[in-house]
Symmetry: C2
Subunit: 233 residues, 2 copies
DNA sequence: GTTATTAATATGTAGCTACATAATGAAGTC
DNA sequence: GACTTCATTATGTAGCTACATATTAATAAC
């Protein structure tokens, strides 16, 4: 039986992908129209479209109306990161999770935080510092600013029992999230809670979230030495 | 005119998303069947499916055949990172790109690299160390292992003119890519090229790529102090 | 009661049609 | 030549049907 069963969009995607990988189509080249590929492979255009959308999402090709489909000239490495709540991340690794509130107060909002919230005027915030533990050892030290104008409910929550991380993610879904990653040397503030020496290199995960344009929170998560962030694949 | 124009799948997605955000459906709740949502909104099931797939991709809901659609209990922060080739990244920031090959040799492959390549037997590799510059200042120091069994062509390339980064990405598309991010303190090897002091905190981007199961390359990209990795949103 | 079989059900996919939309290029106008 | 207008074209989307597939639930068999 040379006649194959009907093609799935994944089959089509893989065939197109293969023809890019084997240089049938090189970076910059134009691929045939969806309809022609469909004819050639003997499937519907909608199937080719589905395949092409996947390749386009993955950053392998670029599509433009009327312009057609081109193999991307400068392929990017596109990676998806899943950042779960810290408790779950620790538990998934098979470790025992622990949490400890360090302090909580209504400090003046620093200009830097106003800027990261993308606001022009200072607003009411609560600052919360806490430590997440894995197997009773420091795992992440978080320094968090919560906008109490946007999330007044947080004022009634006992953050020594439930982490702000967890409460927010369960009770205040965000519409926008900015992430940035960088490295800093542990200073007198961060070295203590993380039980490391001043000067150790720490990976910082900084996250800002909003509902619409209203800022919810900014967290700087200082991870303990040795922490690694992996892609989800 | 109360009768809206026909709904797009994005409209449908936004309506469902809104009803999750406003707690009409809370984490863990089951959403109506696609067909019922379609009836209610007055659109086709395929439109609801398209919307749902998007929400599912974004990590907001979970879908199972027969089981239906549920709002995710533990929402994850899902972020997409685009890592372009270094030259392009530098140029996009409006800086002048520079490249400098430090050395290139056929060193013995360390056990660690064999492991990261997910191989059991050692293989032939070439080690390439190079420096990427932004505005004539050190930007990224890369320490790279290239599997010459998989990519013998690299042996004929003059890597003092074109970076391995660039040549590989243009000539050897990969089928799989692993990324990891972590922080280390600059040591005697890394501090020099990056023109910083020993002990500075450096963000390291480590990338391993394969074609099928054949390893292509492992790079450790040591970024200069102050480097930040941002999500693409 | 436990297990195997079967039916029911919600999502997933393929194929088709029709039309919308964006971008290009050609033709016409000044 | 520079500009506008308009037709052309390839992808994008909505709607429909039919069937595939996974999973649960119900039923029958032991």
């Amino acid at each position: 039986m040379t006649q194959r069963a009907r093609l799935s969009w994944e089959d089509v995607r893989d065939q197109i992908k293969a023809s890019i990988l084997d240089r049938t189509y090189s970076p910059g080249d134009k691929l045939p129209r969806d309809a022609d590929i469909a004819d050639q492979l003997g499937c519907a255009r909608s199937t080719v479209q589905r395949a092409m959308r996947d390749l386009s999402d993955a950053g392998l090709v670029e599509r433009k109306r009327k312009g057609g489909t081109h193999v991307r000239v400068d392929p990017v490495t596109r990676a998806t990161l899943d950042i779960p709540i810290t408790r779950r991340e620790v538990e998934k690794r098979g470790s025992v999770y622990g949490y400890h509130l360090i302090d909580q107060n209504h400090a003046e909002i620093p200009r830097e935080v106003v800027g990261k919230f993308e606001q022009s005027e200072p607003m009411q915030v609560m600052r919360v510092r806490a430590l997440h533990l894995a197997d009773h050892k420091p795992h992440i030290y978080e320094d968090r600013w919560i906008c109490t104008d946007t999330v007044p409910e947080i004022l009634g929550i006992d953050l020594s029992r439930e982490s702000a991380n967890e409460w927010l993610v369960r009770n205040k879904p965000y519409t926008r999230c900015d992430l940035r990653f960088y490295a800093i040397s542990a200073n007198s503030e961060t070295a203590g809670p993380l039980d490391t020496e001043i000067g150790s290199a720490l990976l910082v995960i900084e996250r800002t979230t909003w509902i619409g344009t209203a800022p919810i929170t900014l967290v700087k998560a200082y991870t303990a030495p040795g922490y690694e962030l992996l892609t989800s694949n």
